[in-house]
């Protein structure tokens, strides 16, 4: 087994899916010869040829719309949007068509497509390259929204997303693309969608997080362990549909919950999880549910993005208050 990065795992999973199933196609800007600007489609053109690995014109609405057409015809397109900040022209197609084609045709036409894109700040990219708009997609009925937090989970979740019969928004934390290496077995095994992963067990506090913020959150949990506080860390992984049971079960045990995400606080998906706990686990709470999130500001240009991202210190401060709360 080789140790690989998250972006290599993405390419590995796509290659595996394309080998296993001739209906899987890769498409997007620069996905062919260039192998994607982050190399997430590296090697695919050489192995599968230009019919199945398609450089598209520079047109995001087209990329998403043609994926709908291909999917309705029985293909499984895996379309790349180069950066999340450029997904907006494709949103019309996702919300008005991809997410509801099955429903509006009573299952006659379906849309088994994946729209992959890098998400999040932290690599000092130019303006519009650092957005975290997962809540926008998680709000849309009919979609799956998946975000991996490690190479192995990226491999397994992407395979699952490609095999899923419904449209999946697959968000790849840019900051994690090359941050860590992990052993990934290219065994074609999908990870479960619609399920949280417990990255660390603990009985004193539940951290709920996803994507790149799992790293800072795990670091905060380690620091708390130094103080004798055992924090559980839940990686949500599929934001929509949400695995409510795992979150509620953990919070019922620990009685305390801190939600961590890098997207802006207001209207972020953390609010949804807090509401869920308020509705279904209020009486097991020993402290208010707290959120640590990006500020309600535009993601700043690179010089200040570290100030925007929730730091281990910010997480720790809120976690300590939550633990101390009587």
């Amino acid at each position: 087994m080789a140790e690989i990065t998250l972006v290599e795992a993405v390419a590995l999973a796509q290659a595996r899916a394309m080998r296993d199933d001739p209906s899987v196609l890769a498409l997007g800007e620069d996905v062919g010869k260039d192998g994607g600007v982050f190399r997430a489609t590296d090697g695919l053109l050489a192995e599968f040829g230009p019919a199945r690995v398609r450089d598209t014109p520079l047109a995001e609405g087209l990329i998403a719309g043609m994926a709908v057409g291909l999917a309705a015809q029985g293909f499984r397109p895996v379309a790349e949007i180069q950066f999340m900040g450029f997904v907006y022209p494709a949103v019309d197609q996702i919300v008005n068509h991809a997410s509801r084609l099955r429903n509006r045709t009573r299952g006659r036409l379906t849309c088994p497509m994946v729209l992959r894109m890098p998400t999040g700040a932290g690599i000092k990219a130019p303006e519009h390259h650092s957005e975290s708009m997962e809540a926008m997609f998680a709000h849309m009925p009919g979609l799956r929204v998946v975000i991996p937090s490690s190479p192995a989970r990226a491999y397994g979740l992407l395979l699952a997303a490609i095999r899923d019969p419904d449209p999946v928004i697959f968000l790849e934390p840019t900051r994690l693309y090359r941050a860590v290496k992990e052993e990934v077995a290219d065994n074609g095994e999908a990870a479960a969608l619609d399920q949280c992963f417990t990255l660390r067990g603990g009985s004193d506090l539940t951290f709920v997080t996803w994507g790149a913020m799992t790293r800072e959150t795990l670091a905060a949990a380690e620091a708390l362990a130094g103080d004798g506080i055992e924090a559980e860390v839940i990686d949500v992984a599929t934001l929509k549909p949400l695995d409510e049971a795992s979150i509620l079960e953990s919070v019922a045990r620990t009685g305390r919950c801190v939600i961590v995400h890098e997207a802006a606080l207001t209207g972020g998906f953390g609010g949804e999880i807090a509401a869920l706990i308020g509705e279904k686990a209020l009486l097991s709470l020993a402290a208010p549910v707290r959120r640590v999130a990006g500020f309600d500001t535009v993601v700043p240009l690179p010089r200040m993005e570290d100030l925007y991202l929730p730091s281990v210190e910010r997480i720790l401060a809120v976690a300590r208050e939550t633990v101390r709360f009587q």
């Binding site: 087209l62 709908v68 197609q93 068509h97 099955r102 045709t105 009925p141 949400l242």
Partner: protein, 356 residues
């Protein structure tokens, strides 16, 4: 003329019949056939009768907002008639003639416009797309469908219909541009009925024609008299042949929306009665009837019999539509995902308890 492009002359408007149904140019032999033309005529009359029925159902509170195709029957029927059954139609919201020709039932169309999703579960053309409401959004789906045909080496084509207003959207250019790049088997039919709700085509573009938008995509742009069903069918057949050989096509069909935009619109607010009555002089149904009568292929008795027959057909469809049982409330959840996510089970149960 504004926006004249240097060195570019817009394509001529192809037509065989003049406004009064007199022959302008010799009609292609295979179309100048009694059965073929009467088939097209019947389909146009059926479409018009169906439209009238739908509007009256709406007026009496038994249908939701409806978009009539009054005056545009030749575009819709002509393009539908030229398609093979195996082609895929990606319609806008006013293409009832083409949908009916392809086997979507009147009941299904009424169901859709009454707000019942089952109307888009066509029992006939299973691969055709449902009506697209966000204008021009269906154009990019056609790219994917046509690419699927190309990838599988199938001699099929995607046919996408859009309005003149829809050509202002980037989707349209993105789609025709991609079809040009990949030489996809797709035909885009612009139903230029001169109006996008209250905005005349002159407010959509300064280009003298819409067909010329194809030039920028490097593909063929054609113009046809959209009130001449013979011309539409012929041009469309040729375009489909070209498309199947990897030459995507844009057709601008010139017609006129004689009715309101939808039953929620009052077109008198923005256009003159005089303009509309002039346009009634060139409408497609009467035009073909004049030709048929001139050839002695159609008599008053034929017309009377046809009217009786289509009215009966339409009335029967309306009755069948009105007699449909309501869809189960839980349908809202049951087609959303392939399998119901556990997190939605509670919401579904809530609805089922209240309205199951």
């Amino acid at each position: 003329m504004t926006g004249d492009c240097q060195g570019y002359s817009p394509p001529p408007v192809i037509a065989y019949l003049d406004k009064a149904g007199a022959v302008l140019d010799s009609i292609p032999a295979e179309l100048d056939d009694r059965d073929v033309l009467i088939g097209l005529y019947r389909a146009m009359v059926l479409t018009r009768t169906f439209d009238q029925k739908a509007v009256s159902l709406q007026r009496t509170g038994r249908l939701g907002t409806y978009a009539s195709s009054l005056g545009q029957e030749a575009v819709s029927v002509g393009l539908g008639a030229a398609m093979q059954a195996s082609d895929v139609l990606l319609p806008a919201f006013r293409d009832h003639g083409a949908m009916l020709w392809r086997g979507v039932t009147m009941v299904e169309i009424l169901q859709y416009w009454s707000g019942d999703e089952r109307g888009s579960d066509f029992k006939g053309p299973r691969e055709d797309f449902p009506v697209a409401i966000p204008v021009a959004s269906q154009t990019t789906h056609a790219v994917g469908v046509a690419m699927a045909f190309q990838l599988r080496g199938e001699a099929r084509a995607a046919v996408c219909v859009l309005g003149d207003g829809a050509t202002s959207k980037g989707d349209f250019y993105e789609a025709i541009n991609a079809c040009g790049v990949w030489k996809l088997p797709a035909v885009f039919v612009i139903n230029n009925n001169q109006w996008a709700i209250s905005e005349p085509v002159s407010m959509q573009t300064a280009a003298p024609t819409l067909a010329q938008k194809a030039v920028a995509a490097g593909i063929d742009g054609i113009r046809v008299d959209g009130n001449d069903v013979i011309a539409v069918r012929h041009v469309m057949e040729r375009a489909l042949e070209q498309a199947r050989q990897g030459r995507p096509q844009v057709i601008e069909a010139l017609t006129y929306r004689l009715g309101d935009h939808t039953t929620a619109d009052d077109a008198r607010r923005y256009r003159d009665d005089a303009e509309v009555s002039t346009r009634w002089q060139e409408e497609p149904v009467l035009r073909l009837r004049h030709y048929l009568v001139g050839r002695q292929w159609w008599a008053k008795t034929d017309e009377e019999a046809l009217i009786r027959e289509v009215r009966a057909q339409v009335d029967e469809a309306a009755e069948a539509y009105l007699a449909l049982p309501p869809q189960p409330a839980t349908d809202m959840f049951d087609y959303l995902y392939a399998a119901l996510p556990p997190s939605l089970a509670g919401q579904r149960a809530l609805l089922e308890d209240a309205h199951g």
